[in-house]
Symmetry: C2
């Protein structure tokens, strides 16, 4: 059984000179033998941002807490608690914390295995 606060799962820093103040937790994934998709929880500190990049798989995102914006191709969309975002395969994207609190969101990706 795997039912717990996401904060019980170890966070790792996403370390890169293209990323600022981002941690990631794989909350449901290979450790649970999840067969089809992987749930991660990201936290971005105020002023922080994720990679601005693109890849051949999709993201399905739900914003849990804090305020920020999603860069999607040539647009920027503000988001807050309860916002959802579908990042299509190969779409350029970035997530930025524009608020004063931690921006927390879940991001589901396909299982590459």
């Amino acid at each position: 059984m795997h039912i717990k606060p996401y904060t019980d799962i170890a966070a790792v820093n996403v370390a890169s000179d293209q990323v600022r103040d981002v941690t990631m937790r794989v909350v449901i994934g290979p450790d649970q033998s999840a067969p089809n998709f992987i749930m991660r929880v990201f936290e971005i500190a105020p002023g922080g941002y994720s990679y601005k990049h693109q890849h051949d798989y999709e993201h399905e995102i739900f914003f849990h807490a804090g305020h920020g914006e999603v860069v999607y191709e040539d647009r920027t969309v503000p988001v807050g608690p309860g916002a959802i975002a579908f990042i299509k395969p190969n779409a350029l994207h970035q997530i930025r914390n524009t608020g004063g609190e931690t921006l927390t969101f879940i991001c589901v990706i396909p299982n590459p295995e």
Copy 2:
């Protein structure tokens, strides 16, 4: 582009004599040509509960707001904002609102197509 508050998406009542006061929104799915998995947002009113059932596909769940409990096989686990739950294929499960506010959670399933 599909980035918006989940409440902008139409809710449907989950109508059954085995379910009480549950609405569902398919927030990312076939309408967006999501290729691998589908994100739904459920709201359960105080005193409400979802099906107690099992099926051959998994759920990956994140609790956004409110308080409740997950029945998983022969156990019952309290959950609140930020809890995650992995429901393995074929595991008996139910979600109940035990609090005084709406219980809101996302539940991701594989795309059956």
